[in-house]
Symmetry: C2
Subunit: 469 residues, 2 copies
């Protein structure tokens, strides 16, 4: 039997400080150039050289103002502020590459669905089927206030709204234009066959629509659906909708349980365990030898900011850790639901000193330090023992952390038969699942598809035929 193939996304954000905080100050780190095109087109080419499946770009609407009740440290350490729009990077990177996928975070609580559906379709066209959407609903009070709202919608209600939103955009992506609607027939003067383009009506509890999708069908129609929710309601949502799930984890045994639960919930939702590709967030500091890797880690460590990592975490869990003494036990029941119960329990047993020690490179993510063999051993263990499908590799000192990984770890994985040696052809979805460009019939989006219209074009002149909904 063929060895399990490890999937790989680079994890990044259109900002300076993303996950491993403070490393922007390293002399070789170029993340301060995040606002230039070259930064992104160079990165995309680098990742494609490493045969990365995708570049996953996080996003946040709002600022981290919980720690010290201020954004001072956020600004000084550029903790995801400033943060530019991620979608607008895609077309330049797509022009610089051929295979790399793009998983882009967009917050559905704030993006009007009719316009958002067009954005995704446009990018799926321009990338020839390489676009994915990381579905988030937002968790920052500062974001809600910036959007002119009184405050954040309650967590579970955000998921109710997300269900409604997805039903609406599925109708646009899957149901408005049939396959075969677009003919591009110059001689017959028929760009599109009106009998095969359908008016969509949606009267949901949160969203309404009466109109046509503005875009002709793109290769994937619905973008590849990413999700990162690990709350109970978030897991339920993921199991129903997500094709790729991004989890953060430290403990292998606990993660193995989460992975099994997610796949079971997918089955309960009428899907298959393998319909979910589960990615875990990691960082890696790799050297030609163990010693070189450790020296590199020590060098990085001098530039990292554990306090910035803690300030970021403070907004994630909505607790101002600065209010506690270094050794004072921290109680933060009522923390934000983006954290899994397991993580919350772990953190509850901690004080600020211990927390700071955990943010060694400014991040809570597992950081693999060692030579290529060690890193490959760990990745294979997560894949085979824990059961994840792949990794979202965060950057440390950029771009060298990606380059080191590509130069050292990728060949090692390839020599073990755990990583592809060439890209497959086709869309992002087909590359990941090997079963075509479109969502399978068992996914809820498929129920929004229109039964193909058999009428000849001639019937298009009949008003009723063109408006069958």
């Amino acid at each position: 039997m063929a060895k399990k193939q490890i999937l790989l996304n680079a994890f990044n954000m259109n900002c300076v400080g993303h996950i491993n905080h403070g490393l922007w100050t390293h002399p070789r780190d170029n993340s301060v150039d995040y606002n230039t095109l070259e930064y992104w087109t160079d990165l995309a080419r680098t990742l494609e050289r490493g045969l990365f499946d995708g570049l996953f770009i996080a996003d946040i609407i709002g600022v981290y103002d919980v720690y010290q009740h201020s954004i001072d440290l956020t600004l000084r350490e550029s903790i995801q502020l400033p943060v530019n729009d991620p979608l607008l990077l895609v077309s330049a990177m797509a022009a610089a590459t051929k295979h790399l996928g793009f998983g882009i975070t967009s917050n559905l609580s704030y993006e009007p669905p009719y316009l958002f559906a067009r954005r995704m379709s446009t990018l799926d066209h321009l990338t020839r089927g390489r676009i994915g959407w990381n579905i988030v609903t937002g968790y920052l009070e500062s974001g809600a206030r910036a959007m002119g709202l009184d405050g954040l919608t309650a967590h579970d209600q955000r998921y109710e709204r997300a269900e409604d939103y997805l039903e609406l955009v599925y109708k646009l992506w899957e149901g408005s234009w049939e396959d075969g609607a677009v003919r591009r027939d110059k001689a017959a003067r028929v760009f599109a066959d009106p009998a095969r383009v359908h008016r969509v009506r949606h009267q949901g509890p949160y969203y309404q629509l009466d109109g046509y999708h503005l875009c002709e069908p793109s290769i994937q129609r619905t973008p590849l659906l990413f999700q990162a929710g690990t709350s109970p309601r978030g897991q339920q949502f993921s199991a129903r909708h997500a094709e790729a799930i991004f989890i953060s984890a430290q403990d292998k045994a606990a993660t193995r349980k989460v992975v099994q639960e997610l796949r079971q919930q997918a089955v309960q939702a009428g899907r298959r365990p393998e319909d979910l590709k589960i990615f875990v967030g990691i960082a890696a500091v790799v050297g030609k030898t163990k010693r070189e890797a450790e020296e590199k880690f020590d060098d990085y460590w001098h530039y990292a900011s554990a306090e910035a990592g803690l300030a970021h975490f403070a907004s994630s869990v909505n607790v101002d850790f600065a209010r506690y003494g270094l050794d004072e036990p921290i109680d933060y029941r009522g923390g934000n639901a983006i954290e899994s119960a397991a993580q919350t329990a772990q953190a509850n047993a901690l004080n600020r000193r211990k927390l700071l020690e955990r943010f060694r490179l400014g991040s809570r993510y597992p950081t693999l330090v060692g030579d290529a063999q060690h890193v490959a051993d760990e990745l294979e263990s997560w894949a085979n023992d824990v059961g994840v499908d792949g990794f979202n590799l965060s950057r440390t000192v950029t771009p060298e952390s990606y380059e080191d990984f590509i130069d050292l770890v990728i060949p090692e994985l390839q020599s073990r038969g755990s990583y592809k040696t060439a890209y497959a052809e086709g869309s992002l979805r087909h590359k990941l699942f090997g079963a075509g460009d479109r969502l399978p019939a068992r996914h809820p989006a498929a129920s929004q598809r229109h039964v193909p219209t058999a009428t000849p074009l001639a019937r298009a002149n009949q008003h009723e035929a063109a408006h069958p909904v």
Copy 2:
């Protein structure tokens, strides 16, 4: 005195049929490839070869369903349907060029201002100051219904809302981050100085905001502001806010009056006549000789669709022309206010036969047909006698209509001293006005600027200093 320099934008849209309808069926027309990256990067390179100032991309939210109360013809002739998102094209084209500006249409009625402000800032960063925004408020009932609304907001109220929207985004672009706020100082571990980043509060009649701009200042801060309103309320709005105004016109004497009125209104709004760059929409069919141009026009004419042009116009003025006999006088008082009074009066005297004759290449725009000397004569006449500053050149058969113009007309204009022979350095705004990257102090956006904070970084640790608003 130096000769008046003619400004030039290409006028295009992320769709197949834009202005000169039906020409997508011409064997050499490639507009059916609008959904590929190459179509746009090739176009951008072509325009930069012709030293075009900008590529102006129109947009529409909604479908043209007035003519025959149907979208059948709209689909068959692809009359601005499908239409993909224009903003997402920019980064790829920016990577393929160095100087070309991008004037992108976005409908403020539907785009949340906090997110829209970030989109514009992101593109201004990525393009190094080459982004412009064509401010529209929408006029299609079908667009409002697709957005889940009961119907369109009344015309004048849309402009009231636009005033509120602009005040909010000006605050973000001009007032949230001072010049000098961003230090990128690795040694001192200071990315941004908290004392120079300000919280923005806005409590307008339509929009509210309490937060920080998510982006550091871009080169232009506020994008170059385009506007195309020619109703009385639209003119008033343009005179106050717009830096570039796009007008459609047929009659030179009437247009001369409009141009004078616009500049007078700008003066009444505290600005200068030359603060407005006025562009008129035209098409050109150029040949090496008059005869070659006329033969080319005849060839194009066989593929054009006057009926598609009329169907487009039907939605512009909200009149179903199909209801009238060919020679029956058309009365459409109450037509849409996007049309100038002069045009409405002209059209009122027409019947459908005469209207169809006016849409010779599927468009109402003036179409110059002739050799380079004739076309250059006409352009100079519009510039010098009518007083416009430049042209939005629509495509006929694409890309050859742009290539013909660049190969034949541009050298003729250059030989006359009416057109630049090289790009100036700097941002789009500086290229057009020669007075720096930012809006002048007499523009209303300037009143949202923050008086520079003189405090040293040390004060940033004081909470009050970091939140002076």
